[in-house]
């Protein structure tokens, strides 16, 4: 299929979906109390954006989320690099971290509440440790495992400084996979941020539950669309950053390493 036909087909599917939705609500096949008309939903989204309603709640969530992602990345990378140097500790701890990545992380939220007490700290720690650091750690560790040991041996011939090996070999090695891991963690971290809001006000997750419980359906759908748009924008931004890094930084890094050898 040609690209233009594919785009046309996608637009057609989207338009059919919206028309079917509108018709279903108008013909009372679906109750408007539960599913609003797309036209009403669109009007509601524009209204929320114009009034700036819930922006403060979205700001709280996004702030916690961004701080969590940054903090979690630092923790994840540091832990992976630290454990890489102590092989025994790595082999001892990695199975538990792997187990943490597959169990429902939401069950640990009450423990975080008890441990960290302050609302923002709870949310940031929850996002950072359980949703970002674990994924970043596992990604970085698997990438470090792929590192050719001969490089490490070669570096050790030239220097005994751990800091230099860390800066010149380990950090560049993990950098590229790091962006891909952060991109993955960004999606999961948003799940953590919204769940934390649902459990502990304020935040956009709390607003979602309040709107659902008070049957303000069209507003609920509008907020969901806004969160979805934010999530897609964040994902696209991370993808752009990853592409940019892989295009611009690779040659520079290789040059830097070869210069250092000379």
């Amino acid at each position: 299929m040609r690209r233009s036909s594919v785009i046309m087909a996608r637009l057609l599917i989207f338009a059919t979906f919206l028309s079917a939705w509108q018709l279903a609500v108008e013909s009372r096949l679906v109750e408007e109390r539960f599913v609003p008309k797309p036209s009403v939903l669109m009007a509601n989204i524009l209204e929320i954006l114009a009034e700036g309603r819930y922006i403060d709640q979205l700001t709280i969530t996004i702030t916690n989320y961004v701080v969590g992602v940054v903090f979690g990345t630092v923790v994840g990378v540091s832990l992976a690099l630290a454990l890489y140097t102590v092989k025994y500790a790595k082999s001892l701890l990695t199975p538990y971290i792997l187990l943490l990545s597959v169990v429902p992380k939401v069950i640990f939220f009450p423990i975080f509440v008890k441990l960290f007490v302050v609302e923002e700290v709870i949310k940031i720690a929850f996002i950072a440790i359980l949703y970002v650091a674990i994924f970043v750690y596992l990604g970085v560790v698997s990438n470090l495992d792929l590192l050719d040991v001969n490089y490490l041996r070669l570096f050790r011939v030239y220097t005994r400084s751990h800091l230099k090996i860390f800066r010149k070999l380990l950090l560049p090695t993990v950098f590229y996979s790091l962006l891909a891991n952060i991109r993955l963690a960004v999606v999961f971290a948003l799940v953590g941020a919204i769940f934390a809001d649902m459990m502990l006000a304020p935040g956009v997750g709390y607003i979602l539950l309040i709107l659902a419980y008070s049957f303000r359906t069209s507003e609920l759908y509008a907020v969901i669309v806004l969160i979805a748009a934010t999530a897609v924008a964040l994902n696209l931004f991370m993808k752009y950053l990853e592409d940019w890094a892989s295009k611009h930084l690779r040659t520079e890094q290789i040059t830097r390493i070869s210069l250092w050898f000379n």
């Binding site: 299929m1 429902p104 069950i107």
Partner: protein
């Protein structure tokens, strides 16, 4: 050789066991020394006692067995739909080129959105019963199943299928003898991840709203300040999800290892 392997496994197990015991002893002595309040982290033996007494605990509303059965049945229903509907649908979508070109990017872009934001809609539509929990499990489990199925289909070498068509015109034979075996490891990884995500979805749904399930027990014990019970329930959910993960992992290993081929 076998004996050596067994000794190695035993050594690893003993190392992990001693690590866990040491960790628990440190936590216990720190709690006993008053480094943190027992309200934050109770004594380890209190948590274990509470965990052992879970099935006979009369304080729990409706009893522990009811909640365990509820969670297990929600997960089972979600997994059944994932295997019976989502997987075949993903497979069909991946092998029909037109569908793949048009729909796949649309579906993949949906996965960037955190699926838990749909839960309030499910609550609105279905109330606090079993349905929203099962649906939440399905919604959370769809992305890995879809992505891995699509990747698996991409890995099929078309020459094998063409060769198959030279010998038979039966699509079913091509499907069962070539398509499925050549992509089985990838499909199984997707299904394994899908099932563990399903567990996550169900527990999240139980914790957020409703009055049944292990997730509800965690929320309930937190709000009623029964802290050792809360830790015991967390341990129970951990065991349930680890059991699901291990079971699917072992099935995957057995199938990929060739025992069932």
């Amino acid at each position: 050789m076998k004996r050596l392997l067994n000794l190695r496994t035993l050594r690893i197990l003993l190392t992990h066991l001693s690590f866990i015991i040491l960790l628990l002893l440190i936590i216990r002595s720190l709690t006993a020394a008053g480094y943190w309040s027992p309200f934050t982290l109770p004594l380890v033996e209190q948590i274990f006692l509470e965990f052992i007494n879970l099935p006979s605990n009369t304080l729990l509303p409706k009893g522990f067995t009811h909640h365990l059965t509820y969670t297990l049945s929600s997960i089972a229903a979600s997994v059944a739909v994932l295997l019976g509907v989502v997987f075949p649908f993903s497979f069909l979508l991946s092998i029909v080129r037109v569908f793949k070109q048009v729909l796949e990017p649309l579906i993949l872009s949906l996965f960037a959105i955190p699926s838990i934001i749909y839960y309030p809609i499910l609550l609105l539509l279905f109330g606090f019963g079993l349905e929203p929990k099962v649906l939440m499990g399905i919604i959370v489990g769809i992305p890995p199943v879809f992505i891995y199925t699509s990747t698996g289909v991409q890995l099929i070498n078309p020459n094998y299928a063409n060769l198959g068509f030279m010998y038979t015109r039966s699509f079913f034979k091509i499907f069962s003898k070539i398509l499925i075996p050549s992509t089985l490891p990838v499909f199984l990884t997707g299904i394994r991840l899908g099932i563990s995500y399903c567990v996550v979805g169900v527990i999240f749904a139980e914790m957020t709203a409703g009055g049944d399930g292990l997730g509800f027990l965690i929320s309930w014990s937190t709000t009623t300040l029964r802290i050792p019970l809360m830790y015991a329930c967390v341990l129970a959910v951990l065991l349930v999800s680890a059991a699901f993960y291990l079971a699917t992992y072992m099935v995957e290993k057995m199938v990929v290892g060739g025992r069932w081929r």
